[in-house]
Structure formats: structure tokens, C-alpha cells
Symmetry: none
Subunit: 414 residues, 2 copies
């Protein structure tokens, strides 16, 4: 099995606020083609340390991938330092400079002179085009060892790796088949879920199973490299079938889909429409739904009714409801969903009202108190929850719970 | 300034699902005592690579901290490998074994024999007690170089570091004051900004300056350890003043604030209110604004008018406007802002309509075409942009541009 090391370059990745995530994505892609990541390094814009790191990695491992440090400023040293570590020069490419000038011209700007350094490439390296940015990548095959130099922004790095690197590495790795599936489950805690399903997945020793908690849902990662792709896929499918048998609708995604994709697909398949009335989630649910391309065919309208006036004015929540039960109550949640649905004329409406904190909690309604409202042609319903976490998590989990509630209501109709 | 390297040990940290987070916490603690983290490594349970990594780190840096790999199983190699890398033996401590046996007895279990290896410690190292687990840590002061070996679980690692390591390192670092500032700038590209401001920051060699691009804004990170805290703060303040002189309102944050915090503070200070009408951003602007605790005092209402019907019904966009100019037009953007402001009765309203893609673009209005509308008591205005990127980036950058447009309009009134 080929070994790889990943080196993330950039002083910002050595601050308490930032971490390298490119290597996670790269690790997954490398696993798929049977390459094992043995070491990861994060190094700043520090020429000596970067050079030593790349040189040591090239000694130890078959494949060395760097990300970042290819920008146009003086801090961006990966281009020259990686060449030095590989014992090569950098050479100037006139056509790269011409291409850069043309890019800037199309944006209506003149190319700053500093960008010229992006026209230099390691001698003998293949140039990897970057349709999404100004820094090209490089792939150097040095007597069977690979040095791959990629830009840092994921939107530039990922397509470059998939289009120009993966195939070449796959050809040399000898391709061990790995089939993977990600399942997503709502409404269970991590250990409760594991207790329930571990007797099942343990009877499939050829499948690697790991359970991960991710903000508001549990992910079950399955992978198998036991046989051919279709053999692995078949045995994973068999296990998924048994897990569905135990978990029922709690397993909302069988192929890694997000909750907003699952809800969107349900609505699209049924040719039905949705509107959303949000208070404490402040637009998060609408934002998630509209993140999905094509959502305009089912998501008609959303209202962020942050003030009581907005709840009355735009959602027709009665004065008396707000006065006698408060803005955070099942009655207000149901009235919001009902008003939203009538305004937008949609098949369904969902609503959320709650206390996201850190302020605004009371003994009776502490921070994390959330009411979800639901409306369809048959009337309204609500769900009451107390959600743990900080403001960010309470909002996120509220949005997830609202989408999940809608999903389960729709499934009941089928 | 002392330099440090952090080495996270454990094969699980080399999977696509997991990442090392201990180093973020440690980096913050080290920065506070004037120690700079120069490199981070993540290495599996691989004796040769781990030994080389620790040995190289000890050569390059003043302080080397490892986390993880101190458990009782065979995979846990950090204890013996770190000793070897430091050129030392491990020595058996009878009192540690007795202590471990006692811990197990208190849990009502017998100590498995494998745990005995946790009674071995690097020769000459200080033993760091672990009240929260079975693995003690180690601190080796090797002629002024420090090797600190810590357990992996954060609830064991963190108190051990704070109680037994921080004080010792602080004493040798001589507590150099480090003062940091993060500035944020809108409306410039990375290299154009650098060209503009590098002559200024380069005349302050005692301030470390780095420029980072972050989705839709440029961050300028400044840090100084030239003197006392107040001296460093004063010289940074002087540089910030000069940068403001050149950048004017393009520098929207002088202390790391987000755009939504800056806009929120402006509104709060002026005691004014806002409403938001969104089409292609689908709730993202409202979501960002309401991410800020206390936003209910200025953000009154938001409407996600995804369908044309919603634009007419809730925002009073005239039929003729949509028919003759289309949903993505300056006229619709202005009408949306105007309708939103009149509905919510707010001082300001902003709106966004555009084509986020990947579908829906035409020759005349390609993907990335975005119109931002603005309304106040004096009337309406608009801004037209063509934004590069994928759906996610177009939506994010649209939301940023809309908030920035509002911010600049408000500043003009002051």
C-alpha cells in the first residue's frame, strides 16, 4: 500500500482559531484509491521548517501533497521552497503570465506585478490548471515519488486534485477497491444508537463501521474493501437494510444526503410546496433549504418574524395569543405556521420560536426552550423541546428539528 | 521569542472524520505566555515516523509537546518512542504502579497487566499527575529544551497542562507580551490590498503582519511583542491609524468584528432599525444578522421572497416591474427594499435578488448576476455586481456585499 504525507502551509493554520481541513478531504480521496496517509504536518510561512518538512516527507513516503502558500504575496513561499526541497529550480512560464493577465483583464482589473510570481513552476513538474483561482498547481514525478503542490482554498484545491491528480495516483497505487456509505440518523444519542446497532454491524466484520456525532445528527460511516466494488456494495447494502429495519424513519439519509436535501427531495417527488416562519432561527431554515439548487420549485416563501409586530403583521398571529402565552409558546408556534401557510398558499408550513440565548431565559422558559409549529391542510401541530448548547448550537439544532419534524409528518402521509 | 512544536499522536487522527483539536487549545495557551507555535504534526501509531518527528522537533524548537498515545495498549507508543527520541531510557516507578492498582481497586476492578506499562517514565523527567485518567504526563527539561508528553483526552490534557506545565514554561519564556489585532477590509482583492498597504506596514518591522483572504473579505493580522503590552498596543494603534488613513471605510473592523456585528453596532448606536428582503440569498443575511446576540433590538423582520408571488404578495413588487425587467433586475431589487421597508416600518431595508446558480443563468444575466437594493427615508438605490464562485460563494458574497452596502450608506449619513 502506498504511503502519503500531507503538508498544510500557512501561518494562519497555526493560530488558535483556524485548523487545516483540506487534509481530511484529501485523506478520504486517498483512501479510496488505496493510499494510506501516514503523517500530516501544518507549517507556517517559515522557509527553513517547510523545506525540511517537505524533504523529510519525500524521504519517508511515496506521495507528498502540500496545500496552500501559492498566493501572490511574499508570504507565499511554497512554490520556491518545494522546488528547493526536491532539488529543483523554478522556471518562468510566459504563457502562465499571459493567462493571469487575461484573467485580471476579464475582471476589469490590471494584474498587480506581485502576481507575476505565480508564473513560476518547479522544473520538470506538470502544471495543474486552476479554473477557480490564479495559482496553478504542480505535480512532480521524481523517479516514482510524487510531489503534489496544490493551492489552499478548498474550491480551488478539490477540483484540481480530482481532475488532474487522482487518476495519476490511482494508476500507480494499483487500486484496492474501497466502497463507502454514510448514513445519517436523527433522534438518537451516540451511545444509545451504538448500543442498538452494534450487535448488527459487528456481525459484518468485513465492514468497517464508525459512529460520529455531528452537531445534531449521528453519522454512521461504513466502508468495505473485502472484494470487488460490487461485492463490497452488496454486503454494505445488506447491512444498511438491517439497520433500516431497526431504525425505521430515524435513518433519514442512506447516501450521505443532508436533511435539507432529503426534505427537498420529498417535496419535489410529491410536487408539494413549503413556506417557513422563523423567529429564533432567524432565517437559518430558509437558508439551508435554499442552499439546495432547484429549491425554488418547492420553497415559496420565508418570513423572519423576529419582532412581535412582525409576527402579528405578516403572520397574523393574534394579539391575544402573544399576550396570554408569550412569543415563545406552542400557541404562537402553531399560529405562526398557520399564518405562514395561509399567506403563501403552500401545502406545508413550519415555524420555530424559542430562546437561543445567551440572554432571555427565565426559570419557566430557560435558554434552549424551543417550540416548532407545523401546518398542513388538516390543521396545526407543535413540538416542544429543550435544546442544550450555545446560541449557535441551539439555532442549528432547532433548524434540524424543524426540518426533521416536517419530514416525519410527510412520511406519515405516504 | 521561544518556539514550540506540537505533535498529536494517534492513527484515528489520520482518518477523514477526525482532526486534532488539542493543538488549538495549546496554541492559545502558549501564545498567551509569548511562545510561538511554529509547526504541528499529526502522526499515527508508527514508531519510526514518530521518533523522527520528535527528534527533528527537538532540534528545531525550544519546546516540543506531544499529545496522545499514552494509553495501556500496544498501540500506545509515545512513552517509549519519546524517550528514545530524547536519547533516554524509560524507568519503572513502583509508586506509579501502586497508584494505578489503587485507582482500579476504587473502580471495583482489577488492574489489567497491560496497564503496568503506564508506570514507566522517561529517565529524568518530571512526572505530571493525572487526576482524570490513568496515564501520567512527563516534562523533560533537557538543557533548556523542553519535551512535554501529555495524554490525548482533552479533559486529562488540559488540567495537566494548566496545573503543571504552563507555570514552568512561563518562567523560562520570560513572558514576552504579545498583542494581536485583526483588521477586516471589504472591496479589495488580496494582492491589490497588499500592494497598497505593504509600504506602510513594512515601515513597522516590529509588527508581524499577515494578509489572509477569507471568502469575501481580507483579514490583516497584526501582532507585536516589541515591548510591554501597552507599548505594543500603542505601536499597533499607530499602524492601524495609518492604514485607516489609506483605506477609509473599506476597513470595516478594527478589532476582528464580523460584518454583521459591525452593522449591528452601527444600528444599535444610532437607535435605528432594519428589515431584509432576500431572494437568492434565501435567508442568509437574516441568519447572519440574528447570529449576533441582541439583534432583536434592530432587526425587525425578514422576508425570503423566493417566488415571484411572494415578491408581489409580501413585498408589493408591482406586476409590471417583474414583467418588464424580470425578477433579477435593479428595479425589482429596489422595489423589494422599498416594499420591505414600508411593511416593517424600519429605518432601513436591504434586498438581494440574483442568480446563484448552477442553473438559471443566461447570456444577458449569467450566474453570479446580483442586484442589491437599499431603501431609507430618502428613497431607494441599488448596486449591481457580477460575483465569481459557486452557489455557496455567490450567496455568501452577496450577503456580505449587501451588508457592506448598508454599512457604507449609514456611514455617509454620519
Amino acid at each position: 500500500m502506498l504511503s502519503a504525507e500531507i503538508i498544510a502551509v500557512g501561518s494562519e493554520l497555526l493560530t488558535p482559531e483556524r485548523t487545516d481541513t483540506n487534509s481530511l478531504w484529501l485523506t478520504e480521496k486517498l483512501m479510496d484509491i488505496g493510499v494510506e496517509v501516514k503523517l500530516k504536518t501544518i507549517v507556517g510561512d517559515d522557509e527553513a521548517r517547510l523545506e525540511e518538512t517537505i524533504r523529510d516527507a519525500l524521504k519517508r513516503s511515496d506521495i507528498v501533497i502540500t496545500t496552500g502558500g501559492l498566493g501572490p504575496t511574499e508570504d507565499d513561499v511554497t512554490r520556491t521552497v518545494s522546488a528547493r526541497a526536491a532539488g529543483r529550480e523554478v522556471v518562468y512560464h510566459e504563457e502562465l503570465e499571459a493567462h493571469l493577465r487575461e484573467r485580471f483583464r476579464l475582471w476589469g482589473r490590471e494584474m498587480p506585478e506581485t502576481n507575476k510570481r505565480q508564473a513560476y513552476v518547479i522544473e520538470g513538474a506538470e502544471i495543474l490548471p486552476n479554473p477557480n483561482g490564479s495559482a496553478v498547481g504542480m505535480l512532480l514525478n521524481d523517479g516514482g515519488k510524487f510531489l503534489v503542490v496544490l493551492p489552499g482554498p478548498p474550491r480551488e484545491m478539490q477540483p484540481m486534485f480530482e481532475d488532474h491528480v487522482l487518476g495519476e495516483l490511482k494508476a500507480v497505487s494499483g487500486k484496492i477497491s474501497v466502497v463507502r456509505r454514510v448514513l445519517r440518523v436523527s433522534g438518537y444519542g451516540e451511545s444509545a444508537l451504538d448500543e442498538l446497532i452494534s450487535p448488527i454491524y459487528k456481525s459484518y466484520p468485513s465492514i468497517q463501521t464508525s459512529i460520529l456525532f455531528n452537531r445534531s445528527e449521528i453519522e454512521v460511516h461504513l466502508s468495505s474493501s473485502a472484494g470487488t466494488d460490487s461485492e463490497s456494495a452488496a454486503i454494505i447494502e445488506e447491512l444498511v437494510g438491517k439497520l433500516v429495519g431497526v431504525l425505521g424513519p430515524a435513518m433519514f439519509a442512506k447516501n450521505g444526503e443532508t436533511m435539507e436535501e432529503v426534505v427537498g427531495k420529498l417535496l419535489k417527488d410529491r410536487n408539494e410546496t413549503l413556506s417557513v416562519a422563523e423567529s429564533c432561527t432567524g432565517g437559518l431554515i430558509a437558508m439551508r433549504l435554499t442552499d439546495v439548487s432547484g429549491s425554488s420549485s418547492y420553497l415559496m416563501e420565508g418570513v423572519v418574524a423576529y419582532s412581535n409586530d412582525a409576527k402579528k403583521r405578516t403572520l397574523d398571529v393574534p394579539d391575544e395569543t402573544l399576550a396570554s402565552h408569550g412569543a415563545v409558546s406552542s400557541q404562537t408556534a402553531e399560529a405562526m405556521a398557520d399564518g405562514m401557510r395561509r399567506r403563501a398558499g403552500t401545502d406545508y408550513a413550519i415555524s420555530v420560536t424559542g430562546i437561543a440565548g445567551p440572554d432571555g431565559g427565565t426559570d419557566e422558559k430557560p435558554v434552549g426552550t424551543v417550540y416548532i409549529g407545523y401546518a398542513d391542510a388538516d390543521g396545526t401541530r407543535f413540538l416542544h423541546m429543550t435544546i442544550p448548547g450555545d446560541r449557535y448550537l441551539i439555532r442549528w439544532r432547532s433548524s434540524q428539528a424543524a426540518l426533521d419534524y416536517l419530514r416525519r409528518r410527510i412520511l406519515k402521509k405516504q
